[in-house]
């Protein structure tokens, strides 16, 4: 199912936010990962029983990014303001990957906005013993392998076939050429937005602030995660005051695409 997105402008900051708003019922705020799934089957699953509000992170889609949102605190305040503008409170907060890092920061800043928080294969902590993968230096094929355990998924194929600039001689005078150029520019834009919060080491001190996240927390990880090793699930669980942990034995980083039904089930079970 293709979910359509809307765009709003926050009057106080004049920033634009593109977001998906589907389903009805109690609200789940969902922050996407480093690679934003084109169509996210997890949203489809959760929206059967809940209203899903999923803002595009700064610099993704038509959401405002840029130097004004360089720090995770800028981003957390911006997300707080976004939710305030949409009139959302007492929601469940779900963050995947990069979205998990920002969810953690948001919950630490505004813990009273949320009833539960769920970290899925989340950035935010660092272990010298098991560094996260530096995917910025990887080829699209290497990235695809690390993000997905099932290489036949559309997302995995799409990622492995991403054009790379040095390997591509594109002709701007053709329609196909312009398509590739558009995609390369979009890729450059989203990856540099991710770099804002992840460079050079994806640790902005969240561990020092996690004591504020006293709401019930669930940590979910794929045991085959090639981006953030599964050992980080324990790190998160240890730092969170009130947490549970669920592991998916065969999943990699993109659990939302690989196991959307099971993932939704685990989430709904936890919050019910």
């Amino acid at each position: 199912m293709v979910t359509t997105s809307k765009t709003i402008q926050i009057p106080s900051s004049e920033r634009t936010v593109e977001y998906t708003d589907v389903g009805s019922g109690p609200v789940i705020v969902y922050l996407h990962g480093v690679i934003k799934s084109q169509t996210d089957p997890l949203i489809d699953e959760l929206s059967k029983s809940h209203r899903i509000v999923a803002p595009f992170l700064p610099g993704y889609g038509s959401s405002t990014g840029g130097p004004g949102l360089n720090s995770v605190h800028d981003a957390a305040l911006h997300l707080d303001e976004t939710l305030d503008h949409l009139g959302i409170s007492n929601a469940v907060l779900v963050g995947h990957s990069l979205g998990g890092l920002l969810a953690g920061e948001l919950a630490a800043v505004s813990p009273r906005l949320f009833s539960h928080i769920i970290f899925i294969a989340s950035y935010g902590l660092w272990s010298d013993d098991e560094p996260t993968m530096d995917f910025f230096t990887a080829s699209p094929q290497e990235m695809s392998k690390a993000f997905y355990s099932d290489s036949s998924l559309p997302g995995a194929i799409n990622l492995s076939q991403s054009p790379s600039e040095e390997a591509t001689e594109v002709d701007p005078n053709t329609e196909d050429g312009m398509k590739i150029i558009k995609r390369l520019v979009e890729q450059a834009k989203t990856m540099s937005s991710a770099a804002r919060y992840l460079w050079p080491i994806p640790d902005r001190g969240l561990a020092d602030r996690m004591y504020r996240i006293t709401i019930p927390s669930l940590v979910i990880w794929g045991e085959n995660d090639g981006i953030i090793p599964v050992s980080y699930a324990d790190l998160f669980a240890r730092n969170l005051p009130d947490s549970e942990k669920v592991l998916f034995p065969d999943a990699a980083h993109m659990l939302n695409e690989e196991y959307p039904q099971q993932l939704a089930h685990v989430i709904l079970d936890f919050i019910s």
Binding site: P67, T137, E165, V170, I181, A188, A195, P200
Partner: protein, 408 residues
């Protein structure tokens, strides 16, 4: 026309199968390949060659900054420039330059450049590169999306530190200083000439034109591809009413021989060493996300130029013949080299040509022979170019040979 000798100070002892065994000459080049005793020779050879170039009649000598690599082992070019400031008497000391976004606080650069200007008696050119992606984003861990903002803030601070007579406070986003009052100050007033090495970023062109800095395109893709970039620069410049070739520089690898056979015998292996090993950079290190602005990425794609360090990564190795044919290297007899360089100078509309006479694994004696032949048999026949223009980007107390009549 001004001609300068540029030295990269390359590590000359990489193994024959380097390209096959290792993925990159930069960032994660294995440390066990480094030998301190070999570096002792390389550093001292480099200093000798720069001094020799000065004695042979080059207008200036250039050193530059790179980190965590075997391509050029001068993380601190200021140390080399300091020796040269004392060892030479009249040439321009061109530090090409200090990656100002990497210094915390950046007044360190203002101080060291001021020292160099004083030691040399006002012969310093202050080079302000953004820095290659490998050096900045990977070697020094600067966020690529913040690099340019940091760079421009550092530039403002350094200029003010040189020029403002009173103590001031600087409240920047990246640097906060309650008291800025550097000692020493440069001899040159208001400041040493600023040269900005670039790789084709639009922001760098705009900034050079706006602030009146010299723009130097340092690429190894040769003058054919170089022309596309320099055309872009001049298009921007001309719109602002700027057309003085002295505001632009270009880098060129040059070797002079007496015959084809001699060139082949003496230079082929060193040229191939340079292109196949020194520019063997893992593509993942060459272009971190955000290192180039979205505007530059887009413009590069539309104009079909790749604006990044070195050459576009090629999977195949290149031979000396390929490199000459593609214009990466200018090699020939003195008259052939003179003719080709004159063409490059005119095509690219540049008043400063930075010549690499030592490159790759070229040993000391061969480098010196090349410096001498270039200086004696090529340079004198290029200096007469651009007689109608004045060089406003030359250190106040450095010698100037330009506008001299040609010798035959």
């Amino acid at each position: 026309m001004k001609l300068e000798m540029f030295h990269l100070c390359p590590y000359r002892l990489l193994p024959k199968d380097f390209r096959e065994r290792y993925r990159s000459v930069w960032v994660d080049v294995p440390s066990h390949l480094f030998d301190g005793r070999a570096a002792e020779t390389i550093y001292n050879d480099t200093l000798d060659e720069l001094k020799f170039a000065a004695e042979m009649g080059y207008d200036g000598i250039c050193v530059n900054e790179h980190h965590q690599n075997a391509y050029g082992i001068m993380p601190s070019p200021n140390l080399m420039a300091s020796v040269m400031a004392r060892e030479t008497k009249d040439v321009a000391i061109i530090v090409m330059g200090n990656s100002i976004a990497l210094y915390d606080p950046p007044i360190r650069v203002a101080e060291e450049f001021a020292m160099l200007d004083c030691i040399s008696g006002g012969r310093l050119v202050a080079g302000f590169p953004t820095g290659s992606c490998m050096d900045t984003a990977y070697g020094y861990g600067v966020s690529p999306v913040e690099l340019r903002e940091k760079y421009f803030e550092a530039e403002e601070l350094i200029f003010r530190a040189w020029e403002e007579p009173e103590i001031f406070s600087f409240n920047g986003k990246y640097t906060q200083l309650r008291y800025v009052n550097i000692w020493p100050r440069p001899i040159q007033k208001p400041r040493p000439p600023v040269w900005v090495p670039g790789a084709g970023s639009i922001e760098t062109w705009d900034s050079c034109i706006e602030k009146g800095h010299l723009y130097a395109y340092l690429s190894y893709s040769g003058f054919k591809r170089g022309k596309r970039v320099m055309d872009g620069f001049w298009e921007t410049a001309n719109k602002a009413g700027v057309d003085n070739p002295y505001q632009a520089g270009f880098l060129q690898l040059v070797c002079v021989g007496n015959s084809e056979q001699e060139l082949q015998d003496k230079w082929a292996e060193h040229a191939e060493y340079f292109y196949n090993k020194m520019l063997h950079i893992h593509p993942g290190f060459a272009d971190a996300p955000g290192y180039r602005s979205i505007k530059t990425v887009e413009a590069g794609l539309l104009a079909q130029t790749v604006s990044r360090f070195g050459t576009p990564q090629s999977t195949s190795t290149k031979t000396f013949d390929d490199l000459r044919k593609d214009g990466n290297i200018v090699a020939g007899t003195p008259s052939q080299v003179t003719e080709q360089l004159e063409q490059v100078i005119k095509d690219l509309h540049i008043g400063h040509l930075m010549i690499l006479n030592q490159f790759g694994s070229a040993p000391h004696d061969l480098a010196k022979e090349n410096i001498q032949r270039t200086a004696e048999q090529v340079l004198p026949n290029l200096r007469h170019l651009w007689p109608e223009y004045t060089d406003h980007w030359w250190p106040q107390n450095a010698i100037a040979h330009d506008h001299a009549t040609s010798v035959t």
